[in-house]
Symmetry: C2
Subunit: 206 residues, 2 copies
C-alpha cells in the first residue's frame, strides 16, 4: 500500500470519528483538519472536498469489507461453508470497535450526493448480489428453496448490520456465542433445519 | 386527540422531512419554520428547542409503533399468533411511505442529547423487552429454546428495521409476500420448523 493511500486511510479514520460525533453537516472541514493535524488547505489537497471525503470514508468501509470478508472466503470451495464464513466474517467486521465509526457512516449514506453516492451504491449492490448468488447456490445444493435468495440476503444483512445499533463487545454476549447463534438461526431460517438437540441455555453463556 | 397534539404531530411530520433531507445539523429552525408555515418564534413556542423537536419526532415514532403494532395485538391470547401479528404490523409500519422520514430519524438517534436521548432509549428498550418476553413465551409453549430470546428479538428487529434501507413498495416484491416470507423465515429460525412443502417460487411473485 502506497504512502498516499496510508495517509488517506488515516484521514478517513479520524474524519469518520468527527462525522460520527458531530454529524456530517455539523462537522466543518476545519474541525477535521484540526483533528488530523493538517491545515485546512492541506486537508483539501488530500481529499478534494467534504463530499469527496465522505465518499472516501465509505469506499474505505467497502475496502475493509472486501479485505476482511470477501477475499478471505473466496477460496472456500463448499458454498455452505463459504456462506458460514461470510456471516462470521461480516459479524466480526461490524462488532469490532476499531472500525465502528466507519461502519456507522457507511450505513447512513443520505449525506452523500450525486455520482459519488451512485458509485458507493454500485459497490453495495455487488456485495448483496454476491450474497444472493451464494445463498441460491446453497439452496440448489440442498434442494431447498423456502425463501427467495434476495429476501434471505437482505434478512442476513439486516441481522448483521443492525448489530451496530445494540451490540456491545464488553456486554454479556460474547462474539463467538453471537456468531454461532446467528449462523445457526440463519441456516434454520434458510433451510428449515431442526438442529433440535442444540439448546442455547446449554452453552451457559447467557 | 387535542388540537395542540394534532398541531405538534403536524410539525413533527414536516420537520422529519426537513431533517431527512438536510440532516439534523444541516437543517435550521428557520428552514423548519418556513416548511411548517410558522414564524421562527411560533415554532419555538410549540417545540421549545431544536433538540426537543427531534425528541418529539422520535416520541411520535414510538407512539405510532404503539398505536399500529402493540395496541392492536395485545388482545390476541395465543402467543404465537400475537408474535406473528406483531411482525406483520411492524413490517407494515416500516414499509409504508407515509411515515418513512419519522422511521429513519427514529433509527439515527445519535443527534439526540442527554436526558431526552435516555427517555427515547427507555421506550425502545420497553419494546425490545416486550418482544423478548413474547419470544420466550412462544419458546416455552413449543418446548423449544434454540436461540436466546434476546438474540432472536434483535435478529427480528434487524430484519424488519433494515427494510427502510432497501425495500421499495413499488418494486417487484409486494408487502404480503414480504411479510409472509419473513414471518416464516423468523419462525423457522426460532423453532427450526421445516415447512418443506412451501417453496417461494410457487407463489409466482418474484
Amino acid at each position: 500500500m502506497g504512502t498516499d493511500k496510508q495517509k488517506l486511510r488515516e484521514i478517513c479514520r479520524i474524519a469518520a470519528r468527527v462525522f460520527f460525533e458531530k454529524g456530517y453537516d455539523g462537522a466543518s472541514m476545519q474541525d477535521i483538519a484540526g483533528a488530523v493535524g493538517l491545515t485546512k488547505a492541506g486537508l483539501y489537497h488530500h481529499v478534494g472536498s467534504k463530499n469527496r471525503l465522505l465518499f472516501e470514508i465509505m469506499s474505505y468501509g467497502m475496502d475493509i469489507l472486501h479485505e476482511t470478508v470477501i477475499d478471505r472466503v473466496k477460496s472456500v470451495a463448499d458454498p455452505r461453508e463459504r456462506l458460514r464464513q461470510t456471516i462470521i466474517g461480516h459479524i466480526d467486521l461490524i462488532v469490532r470497535a476499531r472500525d465502528l465509526e466507519i461502519t456507522v457512516i457507511l450505513h447512513e449514506n443520505r449525506s452523500l450526493k450525486g455520482a459519488l453516492r451512485r458509485k458507493i451504491n454500485v459497490r453495495k449492490r455487488e456485495y448483496i448480489q454476491m450474497l444472493e448468488d451464494l445463498i441460491a447456490q446453497v439452496q440448489r445444493e440442498e434442494g431447498n428453496a423456502m425463501i427467495s435468495p434476495r429476501l434471505a440476503a437482505f434478512a442476513l444483512l439486516g441481522i448483521v448490520n443492525w448489530l451496530y445499533q445494540w451490540y456491545r463487545p464488553d456486554g454479556r454476549i460474547k462474539e463467538p456465542e453471537l456468531a454461532r447463534s446467528y449462523v445457526d438461526f440463519f441456516f434454520r431460517g434458510l433451510l428449515g433445519e431442526g438442529q433440535k438437540s442444540r439448546h442455547w441455555r446449554a452453552s451457559g453463556q447467557l
